[in-house]
């Protein structure tokens, strides 16, 4: 990480803590340096920053968030901040030809990194998260050794609603839950439903 990126990450961490507290609550698993996929609800672009800030320093450096390629590479600044500061993995939201959209994620997992995933695929505006897309299931199947940790991001949509520029200080937290294990013969739909329920269950912990 170069100097500018280090400076930016320190600045962002300070800003996020000042505005939201960025509190991490570990219910069901400790913060531990094993290979993990954190999957969470998605209501705002700030989700990515918040969950990144909530992780302890040691885990932050080995955990890479997934960023939608069309949005996060739209300008030079967005591209710079996602690559240099967050060390993000880009995914295509629209499938192009017969390319595997999960290829960059699989590559990151093969090299030993942990991932932050928003299985809804896009930001939701309802209380409950939208149905999960199958990426999580496919990754769980291909990488059985990776621990799947559900997370609920609380309150972040109040910090900066869609269409607003200035964030407002509201306390937010990220609750990490008990790891999920994919059953041997578990069908895709059942697993995705279970994963979504695991995330939603953390709302009231």
């Amino acid at each position: 990480m170069n100097l500018r990126a280090t400076f930016m990450s320190v600045f962002l961490l300070g800003l996020v803590r000042l505005l939201t507290g960025a509190q991490a609550r570990w219910h069901g698993c400790p913060p531990k340096a094993e290979q993990r996929i954190y999957f969470a609800n998605h209501q705002s672009h700030a989700d990515l920053v918040l969950i990144w800030a909530a992780l302890p320093q040691e885990l932050r450096s080995i955990t890479r968030p997934i960023a939608a390629k069309d949005y996060w590479t739209a300008s030079n600044f967005k591209r710079w901040i996602t690559t240099e500061v967050f060390n993000a993995v880009y995914v295509e939201r629209e499938r192009k030809g017969d390319e595997d959209p999960l290829a960059p994620l699989a590559q990151a997992l093969e090299s030993g990194d942990s991932l932050i995933l928003f299985p809804e695929g896009t930001r939701g505006h309802e209380e409950d998260p939208q149905p999960f897309k199958s990426g999580l299931y496919n990754l769980a199947q291909r990488f059985p050794g990776v621990v799947l940790v559900p997370a609920w991001i609380h309150n972040v949509q109040r910090v900066i609603p869609k269409g607003e520029v200035v964030p407002v200080p509201v306390l937010c937290s990220v609750t990490f839950g008990e790891p999920l294990v994919l059953g041997a013969e578990e069908p895709r739909a059942d697993f995705l439903k279970r994963a979504r329920e695991a995330v939603m269950a953390l709302r009231d912990v």
Binding site: G21, A22, Q23, R25, H154, N155, R158, P161, E164, V166, V168, P169, V170, L171, C172, S173, V205
Partner: protein, 330 residues
């Protein structure tokens, strides 16, 4: 003794107060540590469990007293400007706590931006520049009107009055109330130059003592006045708290520009406002379904419960400030 105190300069007197207070805190903390050692040795039956809980309660109180003392000390060392910034930050954090637990809608976003990034800094800037006339009316008059206008422009009629009332309340308590504490530093008493820090001490000590005595005296009392709101508010413990706060005020009068009797009266005014303010904040918390801003914070939002500790002060400070100002015609 008194002549010795009088022979000291203002700075030396303030330092002396700090030494005494830090000494008291050290003793209290030492006793706390010893008690906790004894706790651990005894078994874990019901009685000791309850005592451990009470001990935890007291330790939390000690911790916040330490923090408050450190904040005051740093504020005094660094000067008035720094103290104003410090109280501004406290305002920011308690308003953040208040807003986090009051549901807002998307249409409130602009009003929130106004509250946090314009009203709050402006109010403290007014304190800094000693524009006391504007400072006393800025929030109750101008902001009172501006917030609903911005909300109305947000184009969301649902529960409009309720949402605005919440925000107005948050600003009044967390910004307006709190900003009166550093404003005390800037009051110009004739013959009391450089010693206005004592007024802040006076206010904080008197109000905290009143709250503490009230809290301790409520133990063992039954049938609270408003059980749906507070289990610990009884008229008897309330009166005891007031008496303690008032007496302490009279004792401390030597450090203030007041004579003992006016000091007693001022202390009583601050204690009445503070203790009732605390009760009102409790009612708001109950309405939100939580018992502590901090407790809910730990489970939902990560708030540290700062508002729980300073809410009495937020109510006492403006009342005290204006009583002092009008009584002494400053």
């Amino acid at each position: 003794m008194t002549s010795f105190l009088r022979s000291l300069t203002a700075d030396q007197q303030v330092s002396l107060v700090f030494v005494v207070l830090f000494g008291l805190l050290l003793i209290a903390s030492g006793v706390g540590v010893l008690l906790s050692l004894r706790e651990r040795r005894s078994g874990d039956d019901d009685a000791s469990g309850e005592r451990a809980l009470r001990l935890q309660d007291n330790q939390a109180l000690l911790r916040s007293s330490w923090m408050m003392m450190l904040v005051f000390w740093v504020g005094w060392v660094m000067g008035e400007g720094f103290a104003i910034v410090l109280f501004g930050l406290v305002s920011f954090f308690i308003l953040r706590e208040f807003i986090s637990l009051s549901p807002t809608r998307r249409g409130d976003h602009r009003s929130l931006v106004l509250a946090f990034f314009i009203v709050l800094p402006l109010q403290y800037a007014l304190v800094w520049t000693e524009r006391f006339n504007l400072f006393t009316v800025f929030i109750p008059v101008y902001v009172f009107l501006a917030i609903p206008v911005v909300s109305a422009l947000g184009n969301d009629p649902q529960r409009f009055l309720e949402r605005n009332a919440k925000l107005q309340w948050g600003i009044m308590v967390c910004v307006y109330g709190m900003s009166h504490v550093p404003a005390l530093l800037l009051l110009n008493f004739p013959g009391f130059v450089g010693k206005t820090a004592f007024l802040v001490f006076f206010l904080v000590l008197v109000v905290q003592t009143c709250m503490l005595v009230q809290h301790l005296a409520a133990r063992g009392l039954h049938r609270p006045v408003a059980p749906a709101i507070s289990d610990s508010f009884h008229w008897r413990s309330w009166a005891l708290g007031l008496a303690a706060g008032g007496l302490l005020g009279a004792v401390l009068s030597g450090f203030t520009p007041f004579k003992p009797l006016p000091a007693l009266a001022m202390a009583l005014v601050a204690c009445v406002a503070g203790s009732f303010g605390h009760l009102v904040m409790k009612a708001i918390k109950r309405d939100r379904g939580v018992t502590h801003w901090g407790f809910a914070g730990r489970s939902v939002t990560g708030a540290s419960g700062l508002l729980d500790r300073v809410d009495a002060l937020c109510f006492a400070a403006p009342v005290f400030f204006h009583s002092v100002r009008w009584t002494f015609d400053l």
